[in-house]
């Protein structure tokens, strides 16, 4: 629909669509509502009436939409908060297990596959760093980092999966 909207009309439409998105209303429904609002604005203009005055404010519009579609606003907000909390816990669990595994893997590889912890090894130019420099050979260092990174990624994905299956009953 080719309709030039005023600032207020644009603002109303954006507010409605943003709020509906916030309440996880499907894009199909949002698009329907957008078309209907545009149609209403066009009809109101043709009849010389103030479309926004008739539509009311964006919050009431969204509240009516949720009411009519049987979406419990309170339950929806609680669910969204709960979902955010879960996502936060999962993100934290994943990150921590990734960091821990990476460090553990780098340490184990340093001990068994490099000379880093060999007391007889005296290469003064070598500056050990568990994150990125556990060997003085660049290519070997790179290989070990890749191994640690892949192991950490795998372990963190498995941990998150295990966590998700355990908390599914929340």
């Amino acid at each position: 629909m080719n309709l030039k909207l005023t600032m207020k009309e644009k603002q109303f439409l954006n507010e409605v669509l943003e709020e509906l998105k916030q309440y996880q209303v499907s894009s199909k429904s949002r698009n329907n509502i957008k078309q209907q609002i545009l149609e209403h604005i066009q009809e109101a203009r043709e009849h010389g009436q103030d479309s926004l005055h008739e539509l009311g404010d964006s919050t009431t519009f969204v509240k009516d939409f949720l009411d009519i579609n049987g979406i419990d606003l309170h339950a929806k907000m609680t669910k969204m908060r709960k979902s955010d909390k879960r996502m936060g816990i999962l993100l934290l669990t994943g990150s921590l297990s990734f960091i821990f595994t990476y460090l553990a893997s780098q340490l184990i590889l340093s001990m068994f596959l490099t000379e880093s912890f060999n007391p007889q090894y005296t290469n003064r130019s070598f500056d050990y760093h568990i994150f990125y420099q556990i060997s003085d050979h660049t290519w070997w260092n790179f290989m070990l980092i890749i191994i640690s990174f892949s192991t950490a990624l795998l372990v963190s994905v498995l941990t998150v999966k295990l966590f998700v299956s355990k908390i599914r009953g929340w």
Binding site: E39, H40, E43
Partner: protein, 113 residues
């Protein structure tokens, strides 16, 4: 309870009743409601109701070209909608009767017209 809240509860039935007369579009439905003094504070409710009725397959939606070349979305009640409307009317009449009986028994002497 204000009038808007009371109307909102019956808006679905009213919209279907308007559509049972002839196919119509959002703005026209709103104007028809106004004629019967069923104007809402915010008419936005009509649009989610039309979407809900469409999702419930009570109305059919068609885009039609108007005389001035504008595309307008028309809603038309179908057989499912007619049955749904009849059920809503029966429920509403039953409820109305129950509330009336309750009020008559509770407020003896107060005339209920």
């Amino acid at each position: 309870m204000d009038r808007t809240s009371l109307i909102k509860g019956h808006l679905e039935m009213c919209v279907l009743a308007i559509l049972s007369k002839e196919k119509s579009y959002g703005y026209e439905i709103m104007k028809e409601l106004e004629k019967y003094n069923l104007k809402l504070k915010g008419v936005g409710s009509i649009y989610p109701i039309l979407n809900k009725l469409k999702d419930q397959e009570c109305v059919d939606m068609n885009r039609e070209m108007t005389e001035n070349g504008k595309v307008r979305v028309y809603y038309e009640i179908n057989e499912t909608g007619k049955i749904y409307l009849q059920n809503q009317i029966n429920e509403w009449l039953g409820l109305q009767q129950d509330i009336k009986s309750l009020l008559q028994n509770s407020l003896k002497g107060v005339p209920l017209t």
